[in-house]
Assembly symmetry: C3
Homo-oligomer: 204 residues x 3
Amino acid sequence: MGQWLHWIDLLGVAVFAVSGTLMAYRKHMDGFGVVVLASVTAIGGGTLRDMILDLPVFWVQEPDFLYAIMAAAALTIFWLRFTHKFPYQSLLVADAFGLAFFNVMGLQKALNYGATPFIAIVMGTMTGVFGGLIRDVICREIPLVLKGELYATTCIFGGVLYVLAQTMGLSISWAMLIGMLATLSLRLAAIRWHWQLPVFQGSH
Amino acid sequence: MGQWLHWIDLLGVAVFAVSGTLMAYRKHMDGFGVVVLASVTAIGGGTLRDMILDLPVFWVQEPDFLYAIMAAAALTIFWLRFTHKFPYQSLLVADAFGLAFFNVMGLQKALNYGATPFIAIVMGTMTGVFGGLIRDVICREIPLVLKGELYATTCIFGGVLYVLAQTMGLSISWAMLIGMLATLSLRLAAIRWHWQLPVFQGSH
Amino acid sequence: MGQWLHWIDLLGVAVFAVSGTLMAYRKHMDGFGVVVLASVTAIGGGTLRDMILDLPVFWVQEPDFLYAIMAAAALTIFWLRFTHKFPYQSLLVADAFGLAFFNVMGLQKALNYGATPFIAIVMGTMTGVFGGLIRDVICREIPLVLKGELYATTCIFGGVLYVLAQTMGLSISWAMLIGMLATLSLRLAAIRWHWQLPVFQGSH
């Protein structure tokens, strides 16, 4: 199963790298800007998680992740050069898969480390959403995750189910599958029906 | 004394969480945005301090801090829903208490770790001000701490007195009390009489 | 050689601190804002590198670096007070020296730690450019490094030559010299002839 997980993990990284590349495209950045934004989006959350838990940062040990980012960025650039349009809807769906997988990886890594379930849910969510948050901050956008359709909330939902599954004695594989499917389906439903958390109506 | 310190520490975290929630309110963020901004403001400085000193990040071990943040954010939201106004002046005073306490906690943690007094003062100040700085960066504000009334400077002042007190042979409790009162009173005076550092008059 | 390297390292830190101070000047920040921006620019990249590699953060052990930053910031402020103009061209050249040296220090530190050549090149580049990136994010500028003249690319170029030199059996001193000269001369050429990476022409 380990090998299989590794490939999905690489795919998740690649999908997030594509989203960083798209943002760099909109912001007229150069080649290095693309690499930085793609990398920050794809590995920012996991890097912060590993630094906070004081674990070895995952991509330092396995440069595969950086190769996946560069390949994804290069393919995206070629695509944009030729078509000048982008399948945003497909990207949203792919991004939902990446989010679900990152969430579960973060949950598992934190629980392995000995964190409490509550902290594990925080870490899973952070793994899923922090890269996109840093991407938006670098590009001077109010981070999408803080005001758009259900996004981080789907990670919390998946995390709670993951923890419940483990508490009820299910194996790690089942817990991971349940957590992943829960995150994924809530996120896809939010995209489809534009579900949102209530937004504050503050005066200024 | 440890128990007593812990409660004040939680209070400091809660006050900073309120300030993050207020910013999220002004920026029309959703529920998750509130949680992120409240958390970043309240534990951002301490997290960076612990990562730089390579100590275990404090809230990973003690989820109490995250509960305090959520309670503070929820109460703030309820308050805003009902009143649509906020006691800014009281918040400023409470924030000054939080700042003073965070400063002293950062100083003590760094000195315990074996840092030099100079580095300890840097760490105390970083603990006090960095969370607010990240909050402002996420919200695309020029960080208040970099141009407003005396804020970080009060941490440096309190830190110098803390270190002097220890050098003169006073006990840790006395040094903490002196550092805290120095930070607090200078900050309250700055709020009251609008003391500022000179601001650059650059062209552009 | 160690002593000599240390002085150049301090000089690199000072040059980057000057660039942070200049940005604070343009943004009308106060004295603490100057210290924060100067510090973030000068030690941000190295701090992130050390946290990611889980090494002791370099300036915690050697406060010399912070003294160099403060001295550089203070001198810059005095200069600006008296002249109200600044030798930007000389600063660019000095900055190129700082960049080249930071790149080589990052490369060496990562290789010593046991990183692969690829990761070492990433770490060298990160050491060189990340401080400036954070500086620009704090000041709400689209980071210069992501869209201007060749900057990060010169670090990658220097890093590749450094690694090639070591692979061919040259001593560390020679590899450092080659990497540094390669970074420096490509950067100076980019400044002189305005070499850029192609910038995306994205629509909105």
